[in-house]
Amino acid sequence: MIPAAFDYARPATVAEAVGTLDGAAEDEAKVLAGGQSLLPLLRLRLAFPSLVVDVGRIPELRGVREDGDSLVIGALTTHHDVIRDPLVRRHAGLLAAATATVADPAVRHRGTLGGSLAHADPAGDLPAVALALDAELVAEGPGGRRTVPAREFFVDYLQSALRPDELLVEVRIPKKDGWGFHYEKFSRTAQAWAVVGVAALVRREDGHIAESRIGLTNMGSTPLRASATEAALAGAPVDAVARAAESAADGTQPSADPSASPEYRAHLARVLTRRAVLAALG
């Protein structure tokens, strides 16, 4: 199918992009990064922006750098580059591992970290990972930059905390050196969306679990943390994982679709959380 007509702007800088968005009224402008979520929506005519702002040629939005205890990833950094980036692999291995499960190689060449997060699809793999990593999302608008913690960024289904005149510019991730990690994705076919995904980070200390971070994919209208499980794991011995995982679905509100019922999703969340945490423990 074929997109409806739209105007097109290709700003060269973040400031120019923000200026362009600022001039456009709500719901009329869409930011185009890699386009791997937006283009199918345009083609199916599920989105009708009057203006598409292509930020794909803004070099300052691309790349990975260190900033003290944090890793700073430009919003436009592609999945392909995230997976292979040595800094990401060293300090945020969970992100590299989970990104490798996103879509397929051709889509990963175009799709971007920022685009995936800004799309705020709870079935996407990376929102739950950002949540588990306690990432901070940096948005730039007409009034300057602001930082939004991941747990405040995902507001509702396909809805982020970004304002219509804001651009997601970078993602700051606290380094998780020494943490074990695993992304357990459960999908019906290789290409399909995750029925449920579990992003687990675990820090061991003296043979027990010091602390954990567990993000859940597709267990509600936003990505969620398995807080009850995290609490149960804090300071617990390794053999407490199975029991702790039993509370992984507490407080979630998974949806129903042809792939899975809410009940089944809750069951999967418990099983996959146990497996993800055990895998993260190594």
């Binding site: 199918m1 074929i2 997109p3 409806a4 007509a5 739209f6 105007d7 097109y8 290709r10 185009l32 386009g35 791997q36 283009l39 199918p40 345009l42 083609r43 199916l44 598409v52 292509d54 794909g56 392909h80 879509a103 397929d104 190689p105 051709a106 889509v107 060449h109 175009r110 290789a190 290409q191």
Partner: protein, 165 residues
């Protein structure tokens, strides 16, 4: 209308295009490069896979304006000096195609894999092709073809059953 300049299979083009024009339609309808087909509207099937500046992309999910200033290689631009690309030969020799509709995309996706991983395992080949659907072959001979192209010294396959019967 937006002005773009794109090099496709070694030829430079300049065109005025609507911003919404998909790269696949630019290739097929404007440039007449119909070797790359289109198979879906959700970027799942991969039939339209081309190389954009050295990386495989699904040309149904790229706007022509996004390819401005870029180089595109399609299945029609793979042969060099009249000689077919090793993948094109291998798909033929290993019976890696039946109807052939997915073949351009398969070849372009496999080419991308081999550029990064010249000696993949069968499992790596399968994962590299996970975004390209084929309805005819069950993929087995496609995997064989990619492996054969990777190790070009491998002799053309004679099925065990032919030898047996």
């Amino acid at each position: 209308m937006t002005r773009i300049s794109v090099k496709v299979d070694g030829t430079a083009y300049e065109d005025e295009v609507e911003p919404r024009l998909l790269l696949i339609h630019y290739l097929r309808d404007r440039l007449g490069l119909t070797g790359t087909p289109i198979g879906c509207d959700t970027s799942n099937c991969g039939a339209c896979t081309v190389d954009l500046d050295g990386e495989s992309v699904k040309s149904c999910s790229v706007l022509a304006v996004q390819a401005d200033g870029s180089e595109v290689t399609t299945v029609q631009g793979l042969a060099t000096n009249g000689s077919r690309h090793p993948l094109q030969k291998a798909f033929h020799e290993q019976h890696g195609l039946q109807c052939g509709y997915c073949t351009p995309g398969m070849i372009m996706a496999a080419r991308d894999l081999l550029a990064e991983n010249p000696d993949p395992t069968p499992d790596e080949v399968r994962h590299a092709l996970e975004g390209n659907l084929c309805r005819c072959t069950g993929y087995q001979n496609i995997v064989r073809a990619v492996l054969a192209a990777a190790r070009q010294d491998t002799p053309a396959r004679v099925p065990a059953q032919e030898a047996a019967l």
